[in-house]
Amino acid sequence: MSEKFDVIVVGAGPAGTSCAYTAAQKGLKVLLIERGEYPGSKNVMGGILYRKQLEEIIPEFWHEAPIERPVVEQRFWFLDKESMVTTSYKGLEWAKEPYNNFTVLRAKFDKWFAEKAVEQGALLINETVVTECIVEDGKVVGVRTDRPDGDVYADVVVLADGVNSLLAKQLGFHKEWKPNEVALTVMEVLKLPSKTINERFNVQNNQGVSVEMFGDATHGLLGTGFIYTNKDSINVGVGTTLSSMIKKKLKPYDLLEHVKNHPMIQPYVEGGETLEYLAHLIPEGGYNTVPKLVGDGVIVTGDAAQFVNAIHREGSNMAMSSGKIAAETIAKAKETGDFSERSLDSYRTEIYDSFIGKDLKKYKDAAHTFEENPQYFQEYVPLMNQAMNTFFTVDGTPKWDKQKKIIAKMTAGRGKIGLAKDMYKAWKAVK
């Protein structure tokens, strides 16, 4: 493996494969290195794949990609112990081309996607761990792998090695993540007949539903539970910041059982046969934790760069765009033969000018605000439920009295000003 490549991409997930695909399409000599037995074998996602960013790489990919169902309805459940307040949007324009987003099973999807990069001319090598970047005179010139004689060289190394980017850390691009900068998420894939899924979620074949759950799903901790419908299985999962999990001494699999057995959720998952149990970290540090993105001969993409919008559960789409932008940057640099940090820096500016940088900036304080102010999930979600219950339970109490009672509960211990302040703070964090 002593030959030299234009680009070495570390990691065949959404970021790495997008980069390899685009670079190979542009005629660059690309090596894509994957540590798993096959692409996808180490990768986990709740399951929502957005159409737009992949379409920019592979037009009309949905005709051939192994997608599960196009999502036609997004539901949001605010759970108390035995009740929930819900809101949702269902739109049949999402059931038609070009669709909005899809549920996918990543082991299948990533494998297919990497094969597409290979079709473009990228060389994919599986079962290979990159143990370090080879640095000469301060410039990254290649990678060291765990294969015998495993040094490989390239003009540019793209780090797409995921949330546990040991390589970016080795290069000093960021310090170790803190427990409040990552979310620990666990999920199960439950097998259910597609007919049962259609009936339970009120959809037809080839229509999917996403459900995001707040409040009691995480015992009021900062995080969410979710259900996503596949063709003949559903993904049910839950995650909170690792710091919350540690502080509350929660076992993630116990939290998952809590979700599966919650009286509002149980009817949807009942009878499902567990096919797989998966755990993964999601980088949720946001804008303020984005590492150094570019160095001499090296670019950082995807989860390794903390490109996740946790509020909108977007990540794989940002990964794909960042991989594509990285490839375009390298192709441009190839014209001048200059792969220095200065030459590759247009990657950084393009990222910050794109929806990635802008959305991360918009929500830069959100995680911090909700972590520091647990009242939103812990107190307001139950209060919402109690308010609805009070208002809609017909017990002879006049509605004016009910309203007064609700307002008294909402303002108890914090006053009207405290309530207004909390609402303002939440709005400010996401505005």
Binding site: R106, L184, K249, K251
Partner: protein, 93 residues
């Protein structure tokens, strides 16, 4: 439906290496400076088990999520990726 962690872990495929990719750097730190032993609680695969006087590391069932490396309050866990092709093999999601 899998209820216990054992049920869940049983469904997974692992291609185990002979050598652990996880290493407790100083077992004394676990024994004397870490009364809470958080890793035994938050690890999603219960890889870490306190055996009264020593931390047992069942690396064979590891999901390679990285939580222990980040969550250990004493940075006492050396965390590497398993050798290429080894470790957990997810088949679905």
């Amino acid at each position: 439906m899998a209820k216990t962690l054992e049920d869940k872990q049983y469904l997974l495929r692992f291609n185990c290496d002979q050598k652990s990719h996880l290493e407790v750097l100083d077992h004394q730190v676990c024994a004397t400076q870490c009364p809470d032993k958080d890793c035994t609680i938050f690890c999603p695969a219960e890889v870490y088990k306190w055996e009264g006087d020593r931390m047992f590391v069942g690396y064979e069932g590891c999901h390679e999520c990285g939580s222990c490396r980040i969550g250990c309050p004493h940075q006492n866990i050396k965390w590497e990726y398993p050798k290429g092709g080894h470790g957990i093999v997810f088949r679905l999601a």
